[in-house]
Amino acid sequence: MATKRFSCSLKNLEEICDYVTHCAKEAGLNESEVYAVQLAVDEATTNIVEHGYGEECPERIDITCDVLKDGLKVVIYDDAAPFTPETVPEPDTKISLDEMKPRGLGLYLIHKMMDEVHYESTPNKGNTLTMIKHHAK
């Protein structure tokens, strides 16, 4: 298990991506699976900065990678306002181009890219987003 701390800034997205890429490769994920982890973590951290903290700030985003027997577990911790995933509508991707609205796509991508996604928020631990990607079977 390795945890790395980042400040809350979109400027850190590339460094965060490099970190989880290293972990995903160490876990033996294939090229498509590595990209899926990169995208899910990028969307999650973007949401924390833009919607959670609502601004760039010195607050923490801690990311822990755990190599599992059958894949990779990534856990993201932050202290932003609690988030209620149920309130974000799932985007309708079968609608016409004109009706497409930029809302909820990040969360939708996270669920599509990862095999397991759990979110919890507690007063003493802050927000915890746990995501697991398994090896291709």
Binding site: L13, Y35, P91
Partner: protein
Amino acid sequence: MEIQTTEYKRCTVVRTSGRIDGSNAHELSQALKNITSKGIMNIVFDMSEVNFMASAGWWALIDTQKTCKPTGELVLSGIDKGIKESLNLVGMGTYFNVFDDLTGAVANF
């Protein structure tokens, strides 16, 4: 983010490289707006050097496609395998014509 644009007779080609994410997607968005504001609605986005595209980047492209259609069209060329898979997985691939290479994309117009 370095963005190059090349105007051809029938279309304009936009090219960038590396990552497109929440930190720089607005730059791509602005570059595309600069083109459509001149009345150019046939655009090729050459993605052969782009290796990562988050949803913020897709929104820049969707916004541009909304502006271009129905007069013209934004088409994509040389998309990385992972980017294409993620685009298709969320059903957004249907909004764009995709070409394997730049020559085919430019010839489309």
